[in-house]
Symmetry: C2
């Protein structure tokens, strides 16, 4: 009863009868607009002759326009527009009256019209390329960061999710062009390198998240993957491990000639090259290699595994390795999901985590703190990455001409139980 009452009160307050009457085809009690059938025009102000009858397929509720507000308030449309946009050049009582009418008539200016006339869409597009059955590790966090920042900047955010192996990704871009979005944020596993070319040709400011591509109007934000991997590896080293396996995911979409190289060197990262391609996978391997190098541990390519970013893939890879390299005492996986698969493999081989084999992951997904032993890992700041991506787009828009450099966010080593380093060795 309580609730019922308040609902009614609300309706009466915000949906004035004048509107209802119009919608129902009755005679309007104010203003000057009449149905096309009735020619009587006894209104106070005839105003300009742009009035016409209701549109044909008008089954949905009529929307109030600025003109109606103007008529009802007895002022011109520009006056209404000026109070709407707070020009501050409208007389106080005029403004009051206009605002009053707007509220009474439940008026919301059409951003569609506004955008058209302003020649700006105030729209960003978030494009997520997802792999079937594989959660993006921090889509949720990134999304929260993006939406918040986008809203603060006065933009709206369009969301699109596409399967990475869906060949129709060009449609998504076409929609971006038709919507005239002012910026694009791309994340996930790309459907292919052609996307870069398309983005480049499109010319819309684009920020990639965790995808190292820099073009004329495109840049990226990522976290310090080299450092994160190095921290993880060095932590293991500090715990006394020297035979440390590296559990890789898969290669990014690199040009063919780079893909074939199994061991890309740091030199492939060419900051001056407008098209820079260097996957996070490579970055983390680099960090791993750096750590080993710094401690004079030779890099054994036999200890570099590929888990395809899945739990099952990781499990299989680790099981195989444990056979060939029974002396391995630690595994650094570049994703938590693979780390969890690795832990299962270790156990299935009859060993214990972390006593026999220590494991460190990457991402700090929710599960990392739930599994037992709790997974040590490298935490990225997803929300901040999202916020940062939006800020980069804003820069790209405000400063065409110069492309901001990539943003590298700090990471954090989260030591839990799986590396055996909580207290002493």
């Amino acid at each position: 009863m309580q609730l019922q009452l308040s609902v009614c009160a609300y309706v009466f307050e915000n949906v004035p009868l004048i509107t209802w009457n119009r919608g129902a085809g009755k005679i309007s009690s104010d203003g000057c607009k009449c149905d096309s059938s009735s020619g009587s025009d006894g209104a106070v102000k005839p105003s300009v002759g742009t009035h016409r009858g209701g549109s044909p397929a008008d089954r949905r509720a009529r929307r109030v326009t600025i003109r109606e507000i103007a008529d009802a308030a007895g002022v011109s449309v520009s006056t209404v527009s000026h109070v709407l946009n707070e020009y501050g050049d409208i007389g106080p009582d005029t403004e009051r009256r206009v605002r009053q009418v707007m509220k009474e008539m439940n008026y919301y200016p059409s951003s569609l019209a506004r955008r058209l006339v302003k020649k700006r869409s105030y729209l960003f597009q978030l494009l997520l390329f997802s792999v079937e059955g594989l959660h993006h590790p921090f889509f949720y966090e990134v999304t929260c960061g993006i939406t918040d920042e986008v809203e603060k900047a006065g933009y709206d955010l369009l969301l699109g999710v596409k399967d990475s192996d869906d060949r129709r990704w060009r449609d998504s871009l076409r929609r971006c062009y038709e919507s005239k979005v002012e910026g694009i944020i791309v994340m996930g596993t790309l459907p292919g390198p052609e996307l870069f070319e398309e983005i480049r040709a499109g010319g819309i400011p684009t920020v990639f998240i965790d995808i190292p591509y820099k073009g004329p109007r495109a840049t990226y934000v990522t976290s310090d993957n080299v450092r994160g991997a190095r921290m993880a590896t060095e932590h293991l080293i500090s715990l006394g491990h020297r035979k440390i396996a590296f559990l890789d995911g898969h290669y990014m979409h690199l040009p063919a000639e780079l893909q074939s190289q199994k061991e890309p060197s740091r030199s492939q990262y060419i900051p001056d090259n407008p098209i820079t391609l260097w996957g996070i996978s490579e970055a983390r391997r680099e960090g791993y290699a750096e750590a080993l190098d710094a401690h004079d541990i030779p890099l054994d390519t036999g200890l570099i595994l590929h888990g395809d970013y899945t739990k099952a893939g990781a499990k299989e890879a680790v099981l195989g390795m444990l056979d060939n390299h029974p002396d391995v005492t630690a595994i650094f996986a570049i994703s938590d999901v693979m780390a969890i698969g690795a832990m299962q493999a270790v156990r299935e081989s009859g060993r214990k985590v972390p006593k026999d084999v220590a494991v460190v992951g990457y991402d700090d997904i929710e599960s990392a703190s739930y599994v037992r032993p709790a997974l040590s890992t490298v935490k990225q700041h997803g929300e901040e990455m999202g916020r940062s991506a939006v800020r980069q787009i804003l820069k790209l828009i405000g400063n065409p001409g110069e492309t901001p450099d990539k943003v590298t966010l700090p990471v954090e080593l989260v030591v839990r139980e799986s590396c055996g380093g909580v207290r002493g060795l």
Copy 2:
């Protein structure tokens, strides 16, 4: 080199010089539009006099318009429009020529303009209310389902995420009104019951996900929470348990007079009432009660705990209960996160899962299969819920007048290890 080449090829193919030239302020080689400074008009067709100089702040790349296509192709705008919308009443060579020009000039029709004139936004809004530090259990899946279905229907999706305790949620709705979105999908933990009233007053077709509210233009999709809870509980019963605790989350935003009742009865679910409020929490408790009832097990209110949907809250609640009711042999938690907290509590109390205390959760989050013992749980079909939500909106739009009934999707009991029911007792 390979890549470099293809990029260049692409640029040349799709961004014809004519456009570049214009952008650079040089003389256009075709068409009839000139810079405001130059008055020479030696074009083929003078066409209508709507030409004006470049807009003031035109630092961004000029967008090609339908008029320019028309001029370049030597036809009228309506002809281009007809080609664009496939009216099928254009001569084959005219059409070919127009299409050719569109491709050459890299033309993408403005959906902004189209939407304005069509008086339809082709926009849906997804509104997620998120609680700080609490992931929605299947936001990812739901989102995938929604985006796919939305795109199929020819709509675009606007995304907004708001903190549940953010008082500014009305802003999000205002933006919906200004964008003239045709439908809203709401999910998460609502900031308060006033939202229902606002949604109702707004009159935009709305579908809630897992929030049981039905109004004049609003309905909801959920999964069969009563059945899911009943299945989970009965599974426990079939395993021989009779002292089964129920680990609740918290109450939905119910009207005050309902909130005070600690034990809402089924009768509160009134399908005929336009405003139906019944949280998933209540539904699952109902299923739990049904199961007990069907097996003549008395419901002990002392076994109903509140974990506040967090791991820590659940842990604390279970720890307390284990003290007071040491005879409890099973726990049914209405979220996996709480189930995981419960398992930790059980262990900390010196008991084993599932030997001493069996645990079943709800949601089937990723972690459920990662924890040990792997968590038995009730799986909901998030993606399908998303798809379904979109379809309901489509119905609501196509059929104003009648509001489709709520959609209840089936659930699945996933038996893993935590209930001890994998093989025998």
